[in-house]
C-alpha cells in the first residue's frame, strides 16, 4: 500500500471550482463510448430514412410541381430544419435520461454531490456532454445531406451551428423540467406526444410557417425549432428575413438558453439539498 498523502495535500478545490463540470462531462462520455455502435447507427439511419422518404420522395413531387420552395430545391429548404430537429431530439435524449437516472433511478447525482462538485456543475456537465453527442449527430446528418446534394454551396454547413443552438437552448430548458419532474413514467409520454411531435410538425419544418393559418402559427413562435430553422435558412441559402426578425430569432434562442440554464441550476441545487 502506498504512503497515505491525505486529501489536504491531494485535493485542489480551486481547480475543481473552475473545471468540475468537465469531470461530469468525462463520466458521461465514458458511458456514451459504450454505445458508439448504436449511436452511429442511429446518427446515420435517421437522416437516411428521412432524406429518402421526405427529402427525395416528397422533394421530387414538390420540385416537379412548383419548382422547389422559397426559391430553392426542397431538400435545401428542408435541411436546416431537419438538422435542428435532430439536434433537439439528441439533446433531449442526452439530458432527460441521465437526469432522471441521476436523481431517481440510481441516484448517481447524489454521489457526485458528495464530492466538491456542485449541483450547477453537474447540470453544466450533463448539458456539455449532450452537446458533444448533438455535434456528432448533426455533423453526420450534415455529411449525408451534402451527399444527397442538399447543400447548394459551402454555406449549407451553417446549418450545423444553428442546429447546435437549437439543441443547446432546448436541452437546457428540458433538463430543468426533467430535474423538476417527479413522475418519470408519464414524463416521456407527455414530452414525446404533446411537446416534441407538435414542435416538429408546426415549426415550419416542411413548409414555411407563414403558410399556416394564424391560429396554428403561434406554436412555431414559441418553438426554438422555428427560430433556429429561420436562421439556418437565412444563413444557408439567403431566405429572406427582416433585420428585426434576425435579432428576434437570436434573442429568443439566447433567452431560452439563459432561462433554461438558470432554471436547471435551481432545480438541480434544490433536489440535491432536499
Amino acid at each position: 500500500m502506498s504512503v497515505r498523502q491525505g486529501s489536504l495535500a491531494l485535493v485542489k478545490v480551486e481547480r475543481i471550482r473552475t473545471r468540475g463540470a468537465f469531470a461530469v462531462v468525462e463520466s458521461r462520455l465514458l458511458i456514451l463510448m459504450k454505445y458508439i455502435p448504436s449511436l452511429l447507427a442511429v446518427a446515420v439511419a435517421n437522416p437516411l430514412l428521412y432524406l429518402l422518404a421526405v427529402g427525395v420522395g416528397v422533394g421530387k413531387l414538390i420540385n416537379t410541381h412548383s419548382g422547389g420552395v422559397d426559391g430553392v430545391k426542397y431538400l435545401t429548404f428542408l435541411a436546416p430544419a431537419l438538422l435542428a430537429t435532430a439536434a433537439i431530439q439528441n439533446a433531449m435524449d442526452e439530458v432527460v435520461f441521465p437526469t432522471l437516472e441521476g436523481f431517481k433511478w440510481n441516484k448517481s447525482f447524489f454521489a457526485i454531490n458528495a464530492t466538491p462538485i456542485t449541483g450547477k456543475q453537474i447540470a453544466n456537465g450533463v448539458l456539455i456532454a449532450a452537446m458533444y453527442r448533438v455535434l456528432f449527430s448533426v455533423t453526420v446528418y450534415g455529411v449525408i445531406v451534402y451527399l444527397f446534394g442538399g447543400f447548394t454551396s459551402a454555406r449549407g454547413w451553417f446549418s450545423i451551428p444553428t442546429s447546435l443552438a437549437a439543441g443547446a437552448s432546448f436541452g437546457a430548458f428540458i433538463m430543468g423540467i426533467a430535474a423538476w419532474a417527479k413522475n418519470d413514467d408519464s414524463f416521456f409520454m407527455i414530452l414525446g406526444r404533446f411537446v416534441m411531435m407538435p414542435l416538429f410538425l408546426f415549426s415550419g419544418t416542411f413548409y414555411q410557417l407563414s403558410t399556416m393559418p394564424i391560429y396554428l402559427r403561434w406554436i412555431g413562435w414559441f418553438s426554438p425549432l422555428w427560430h433556429t430553422t429561420e436562421l439556418g435558412r437565412f444563413l444557408t441559402y439567403g431566405h429572406h428575413i427582416s433585420a428585426m426578425m434576425f435579432v428576434v430569432h437570436i434573442a429568443y434562442i439566447a433567452a431560452m438558453f439563459t432561462f433554461g440554464i438558470i432554471f436547471s441550476h435551481r432545480q438541480f441545487e434544490r433536489r440535491l439539498t432536499k
Binding site: S2, Q5, L10, I112
Partner: protein, 310 residues
Amino acid sequence: MANQEILIEAKALVKRYGDFTAVNGIDFQVRKGESFGFLGPNGAGKSTTMRIIAATLTRTSGEISILGKDPAKFGPEIKAHLGVVPQTDNLDQALTVEENLYIYGRYFGLSKKFIRPKIEELLEFAQLVEKRSVKVEALSGGMKRRLTIARALVSEPEILMLDEPTTGLDPQARHILWDRLFRLKEQGVTLLITTHYMDEAEQLCDRLMVMDKGSIMAEDSPVGLIKHYSTKEVLEVRFGSDRNAVVAPQLRELCDRIEVLPDRILMYADDGEALLHELGQKGLHPLTSLVRRSSLEDVFLRLTGRTLID
C-alpha cells in the same frame, strides 16, 4: 485522544422540516483519528446529522464546523476532505467497478497518474480485483457496499462517513466489512458511523452518541455506556407469554431493575447465575433462562424504554 485536534464541532444543532424536528439541539465534538458512532433507531436523526456534516443539507439553527469551516458557506471546501458512504449505494450502474473508482477520483480533481495506481490499491482493499471489469449491476450487495466504501477512499479523505454501513448484508459480508473498516481505523482515518446495530457500534466505535427522536440520550465509550447505564450481567427469563406479566412483580423484588418485553423478562444483576439460583429458591422456574453480558441494547432500553430494532 483528548489532545487531538477537533475536526467536527456542533453546538445546539437543529434541523426542522416544517413542524417536524429531526435534530433537536445537539452538541458534540469529533477528534482526529477517532471512530465516532451515532447509535439509535430509525428516525433518531442520525442520517440528518450526517447530511448536515456532509454539507448536503443546511441546518435550521445552531452552530457546526467541519475542519474549522461552516458547511453552509464552504460546501466544496469541506466535501473535498470527506469520504461519504450513503445508506443506499449510489454507484454508477452503467460503469464497471474500475470505472466507478476512476471517475470518482476525477470528481475530486485527481490526476490520472494518481488515480491509476490508487485503483489497484482500492480493488485490493475491497477484494474486488477479479471483478474490476464487471458492471456494477452484476455485483452482490456486499460487493457493492465494499465498492462504495473503496470509492469514498479514492481521495484519501480526512473523515470517512458511513451511514448504516452493513444494513442489509449477511453476517459474513458484515464481518469482512468490519475488518476493512478496522484497518482504516488503524491507519488513523477518522470514522463517523451511524448504526442501529449495537454489535457494530461496539466493534467499531471508540465513542458513541446514543440518539433518539433527534436528541442525545448519552455519550461515552461503549464500555463506559454499559458501565454507567447497565449492570455487568443480564438474566433473560421466559415464563410463557401469558405468565411473564404475572410473575414480573415478584421478580422486581429480586433485583434493582427489570424490563418486561413481549416475549421475555430481562433482569439486571452483576451476577446472573446467582440471581437465577435465587429464583429457583423462591419457587420461580422459568421455561428458559440465559445469562449474558450487558450490551448497548440494554443501555438503549434503559435510556429510551424501547428496543433498538422495533
